[in-house]
Amino acid sequence: MFLTLFIVNSSGGLVYTRQLSPLAPKINTNDSLRIASTLHSLHAIAAEAAPVKLPGNKNPRTGADDGIEVIEAGGMIMQCLQTRTGMKFIISSTSTKDDLSEILRNLYLLYTENALKNPFYELDMPIKVDLFNRGVDLLVEQFHSGNMR
């Protein structure tokens, strides 16, 4: 069961947030902004605190910066996909066994298709694109019905 989705831009500002299921906690706007910038800072600090660094401080496969990839807690998992441009797609879920990389990649695909190709979307601004919202809903529904089998 997915909980929440955050999309954070390269400067740490919140670009998109969404409750993906009724289980997700209700967070007001200010708290979401604070959570997003905290995640951004933790991601950067983790790279410094890590005992082993990646070569060039970047993941050689994806080009993403060195930093937090997964946070596991009792009953919850939070996974982060950082793109080459510094955008972070962060999703939390109740199931601790699933790999969330696939849904994160699909969300990235949705972002490039519906937000970046849209002339009415300004880069790094909050995403208020109808196609993107519908795409997220559809994707989450597909994953939920796939898992419920």
Partner: protein, 215 residues
């Protein structure tokens, strides 16, 4: 055209599109994403210069008009036996078939005649490439970026000798149409809810000439 210069010496924009062996289409193809980004920039460029929605639509139409004028010549040049169309129905079939195929790789989804007016015809496309990745914000409610395509149609009709006014409209699709559209839209992640209808209103002389040819 630069005769006598090799491809390597020509400006990249003048070079012919590469013919890749594994593509079945023998006319070069361009990636849809490349077109989408370029079109997005075109819309943004014009949006900075206009103050109203109808102005933006008009500028997109003008941009498409120039494409349309040349598309007819190119289609005529490339087809084996091209006899110039003189009848209204034939030119409409030419636009919704040949021109659509050369521009978008598939024929238009339907060609209809308006019941109320005898000078209006409609070309329907369930998945126009110009608006596939664009969702218009609510404060620009009535804008249709498919005006670019309606400009192309206008240019084609003008160049073929059938002056008409062409406008683009977004119409909600019903259940059957959505099922058909989903079947053919393997590229889109989010199924569309609206189809594009291009309304062509021919001028009086065209209809009179066509009626005269009928006899």
């Amino acid at each position: 055209m630069n005769y006598g210069r090799s491809n390597a010496q020509m400006n990249i924009l003048d070079r012919p599109l590469p013919k890749v062996a594994w593509r079945s289409n023998d006319q070069g193809t361009v990636s849809l994403s490349a077109f989408a980004y370029l079109f997005s920039e075109l819309v943004q460029y014009h949006q900075n210069k206009v103050t109203s929605i109808s102005d933006l639509e008009r500028r997109l139409e003008e941009a498409g008009y120039n494409v349309g004028l040349k598309a007819v010549e190119l289609a005529a040049f490339r087809s084996k036996e091209y006899k110039r169309e003189t009848r209204l129905m034939s030119i409409l079939h030419f636009v919704s078939g040949t021109i659509w195929k050369s521009l978008f790789g598939r024929a238009a989804d339907s060609l209809e005649r308006s019941i109320d007016n005898d000078d209006e015809y409609m070309i329907v496309d369930y998945m126009p490439i110009t608006s596939s990745y664009i969702s218009v914000p609510s404060d620009l409610g009535q804008l249709s970026v498919d005006s670019y395509i309606s400009g192309i149609i206008c240019g084609v009709l003008q160049s073929a000798g059938f002056p008409a006014r062409v406008t683009a409209h977004n119409v909600a699709m019903d259940e059957n149409e959505m099922a058909n559209a989903v079947a053919s839209s393997n590229q889109l992640l989010v199924p569309r809810t609206e189809k594009a209808v291009f309304l062509c209103k021919f001028s009086r002389e065209v209809l009179q000439r066509d009626a005269a040819l009928e006899r």
